[in-house]
Point group: C2
């Protein structure tokens, strides 16, 4: 994030994508924000530092970053996807608390026991239903401190 540490630049090029100005601006915004942003959020923030950006490009770039493994996309269940920059390429497993009022998402660490249980269930479903489970997702819908 500082100095020469733009690991994601190499990754983007490595995936065959070009490094363009709008893309760098979008990355800059994602990298310096710490919540889970909607495409609209990103668009507004990028627009402030690079007004020429189009909403279309924001959507396309976000998908590109997800495809490159740099950004995670989270379906909040309210019809608006959220995006978040990964701190590291391999994220540690975690769950989400999703506020039904303001839409805010809180990452919560997975406790070992629960994590193990989910994994066991997954294995069982693969066998029992011949259903190839890719990724289990545990979310807790409710109301955050300021909304309840």
């Amino acid at each position: 994030m500082r100095g020469h540490g733009r690991w994601f630049h190499g990754r983007i090029r490595g995936c065959g994508y070009r490094l363009t100005l709008p893309r760098m601006k979008i990355i800059e915004v994602l990298n310096s924000s710490n919540g889970h942003l909607s495409a609209e959020d990103v668009f507004v923030k990028v627009h402030r530092i690079y007004p020429a950006v189009g909403l279309t490009t924001v959507y396309r770039t976000l998908e590109m970053l997800v495809a490159s493994g740099i950004v995670v996309k989270i379906d909040a269940g309210d019809g608006k996807a959220r995006y978040k920059f990964k701190k590291t390429l391999e994220e540690e497993p975690h769950f989400h608390l999703i506020c039904k009022k303001c839409g805010n998402i809180i990452d919560v660490k997975a406790d070992k026991e629960l994590e193990k249980n989910i994994h066991r269930a997954k294995e069982e479903y693969i066998k029992r239903y011949r259903f190839k489970v890719d990724n289990p997702q545990l979310r807790f819908y409710g109301y955050c401190e300021s909304c309840k």
Copy 2:
């Protein structure tokens, strides 16, 4: 479903809703289908036995049935909600296997251990993040037998 067993009729009236022909036709379809149907699915099926039905009415009736506690609405994460008739008013806890290709949803029974762990996590998040958890949802995204 046969004889006098329309428990839901009383429930609908009890919630202050009128029992109309389109509603009964929609209920008939839901009641005789066993998968998780999208609003469009319901519309198509109802249209076959009652062509006058409008898509608007299907949406409205489905919401009404959810509000009455007769039907459950499931967000499959693909932008299309699914609806399913409850067998009993109080459904036993279960999770969902969701096929990323065909969108099919399989209900899987919650194993006691896992169920207990999720409950424990929920209690912890309530305390730790002051987040009032309403309902935890565990989904396993992947590919069903015929899609993988």
